[in-house]
């Protein structure tokens, strides 16, 4: 790697972080407007991250080190590698899904390693909500059957010839969109961070570690939005994708602002229902097409 | 015959699933899973090639290991619950238990030594097991007489003999007969001592 590439990577990382955190701020603003509050400024998420990064900390004596410290670092590692594999290299979709699955490990590990009962509950709920991954695999299989490849650049070039995939695979696109909704803050599927268990897996991660997790979350939001736009709309350029990202954030925040938090089993049942629908779609495509 | 075997195995599997679902007693459910394993082995065996024969052994080992692990979990759970596990106290006082074991086990050991290899080890081990079980039923304590750890170590050394034979097969193909005998000897001792240990387990 030479310096040009290094600066490109740094730029990409900072760009993803800034756009992700601004979009999350926008998300919060729109939700506030829906609920007839003025709401915080759009840069609030960014300010939060910086504030937490410079805050004094003390580590709980119940924590299991070094896992406790490694988990926020892993969060950034996971989403940075997803960013590079997806945006820079346009590599296999399945690898990125695998990295997304590691996000569950981060949630579970954060919750468990702190030793707090709330964190543990958050971790157990994250295991429960693993049902959200099944539609994801079905989506991947459906995309593979249609395009005959899982490399993102191939999928994008397929769409330049045949038109966007969202018209051909509406059910899969819907399932992926539900995934985006469940990843956004304050979503109806956000049982992992529900306010009934204080803040779920983040309960005992504060100060610097919370700052690191926030950085990872911002990059994650950017990557997932980019993935949706690249796979189902066929736009892989990060600047051209920006208006679509804002549009999708707008839709997600309207959904999140209007719906209450579901109970854990309701959330899981809803996700399993979606999974069954997508699996039936997949089976139909395998047998008849 | 392939399709019939597979279909019947699946039917057996599904029926045993129903049985497990109906069953309330945990121990019975565990025993019924063994039936499921049998139908699994039947499906593999139905293929009927050399490769299938090679696949049965790992499948069998894995399923046995799983059943052993879960049985252990069950025992620990009952202990944690504070239940006292009742002993198996029935008076077996048959004459054949005193007279037959030495004779039958000697015959089996000699026959196994002639067979050699894996099968021979299994035959020897069945002779040893018969002997040990008969003695234990009569209430004689064998564990004090024979050192458990010593036999374990013996089995390990025999296993390394088998490995030496196996490696020699690749390295010195000229002397294949010697190494074949090495491997056969190692295997027969390993299998018989390992399986024979079962008879002394508490």
């Amino acid at each position: 790697m030479d310096f040009n590439e290094f600066f490109y990577l740094i730029n990409l990382t900072v760009y993803a972080f800034l756009i992700g955190s601004l979009l999350l701020g926008l998300h919060r603003k729109i939700m506030a407007k829906i609920q007839l509050r003025p709401g915080p400024p759009i840069i609030q998420y960014l300010l939060h991250t910086l504030k937490f990064y410079f805050k004094e900390i003390t580590f709980p004596i119940t924590a299991g080190n070094p896992l406790y410290i490694f988990m926020p670092i892993l969060q950034i590692i996971v989403w940075l590698s997803a960013l590079i594999l997806a945006v820079k290299l346009e590599s296999s979709l399945l690898i990125i899904i695998g990295l997304y699955v590691l996000q569950k490990i981060v949630e579970h590990g954060c919750g468990l390693s702190s030793g707090s009962p709330y964190g543990k509950l958050g971790g157990v709920r994250s295991v429960f909500s693993a049902a959200a991954e099944i539609p994801l695999f079905a989506v991947v299989s459906t995309v593979y059957i249609v395009t005959n490849s899982l490399i993102i650049s191939d999928i994008v070039s397929y769409q330049q010839i045949h038109g966007p995939l969202i018209l051909k695979l509406p059910i899969s696109a819907f399932a992926f969109f539900i995934l985006l909704v469940s990843k956004a803050p304050n979503s109806p599927f956000g049982i992992v961070k529900g306010k009934d268990i204080v803040s779920g897996y983040l309960t005992e991660h504060f100060g610097l570690l919370a700052g690191l997790i926030y950085i990872g979350d911002a990059i994650a939001y950017f990557v997932l939005l980019w993935l949706f736009i690249a796979i189902f709309l066929g736009i892989s350029n990060i600047f051209l994708a920006l208006p679509f990202m804002i549009l999708i954030t707008f839709i997600i925040s309207i959904i999140n602002g209007l719906t209450p938090l579901l109970a854990p089993h309701h959330s899981v049942m809803l996700q399993i229902t979606i999974a069954i629908v997508v699996l039936l779609d997949l089976l139909h495509r395998v047998i008849f097409l | 015959m392939f399709y019939e075997t597979v279909i019947i195995s699946f039917i057996v599997g599904i029926l045993s699933l129903f049985a497990i679902g109906v069953q309330k007693n945990n121990l019975h459910a565990l025993i019924l899973t063994d039936l499921l394993e049998c139908s699994l082995l039947c499906i593999i065996a139905a293929v009927g090639t050399d490769l299938a024969e090679a696949l049965i052994l790992p499948g069998l080992v894995v399923s046995m290991a799983e059943i052993l692990a879960i049985a252990e979990v069950l025992v620990v759970r009952e202990k944690v619950r504070g239940k006292k596990l009742n002993d198996f106290k029935i008076n077996f006082d048959l004459e054949i238990l005193r007279t037959s074991p030495l004779f039958i086990s000697i015959i089996l050991v000699i026959y196994g030594a002639i067979l050699s290899g894996f099968t021979g080890g299994a035959v020897i081990a069945s002779g040893l097991l018969y002997y040990f079980f008969c003695k234990r039923v009569l209430g004689e304590n064998i564990i004090n007489r024979v050192k458990w750890v010593g036999i374990c170590g013996f089995s390990g050394i025999a296993w390394s003999l088998w490995i030496v034979g196996f490696l020699g097969f690749y390295l010195f193909p000229k002397y294949w007969l010697v190494f074949l005998l090495f491997a056969g000897l190692g295997l027969v001792i390993k299998v018989c001592s390992k399986l024979g240990l079962l008879g002394m387990a508490e």
């Binding site: 790697m1 030479d2 310096f3 290094f6 990577l9 990382t13 990064y53 410079f54 805050k55 004094e56 900390i57 003390t58 580590f59 709980p60 004596i61 119940t62 080190n65 070094p66 410290i69 926020p72 670092i73 950034i76 590692i77 940075l80 590698s81 590079i84 820079k88 290299l89 707090s116 009962p117 709330y118 204080v198 309960t203 005992e204 100060g207 610097l208 700052g211 690191l212 950085i215 | -």
Partner: protein, 66 residues
């Protein structure tokens, strides 16, 4: 020195090493070092610039704290 600072030093070392190795290697491995470099440096620098805690009982956090 508590364990967090120790981990911070280890993270700084890993970050520096991967910064150097990043420019030596090529291809996917250099990306791997980049991925290791960013979070380790972030944690390693962060743990040394946060202010010292003024809490009396270290480790016993207020929330449900033990």
């Amino acid at each position: 020195m508590d364990i967090e600072k120790k981990v911070g030093i280890v993270c700084l070392i890993i970050g520096m090493l991967s910064f150097i190795l990043m420019f030596i290697t090529n291809g996917l491995i250099s990306y791997l070092f980049y991925i290791l470099f960013v979070p380790n440096i972030l944690y390693g620098v962060g743990i040394f610039i946060v202010p010292k805690t003024r809490r009396k009982k270290l480790g016993k956090i207020p929330f449900r704290g033990y």
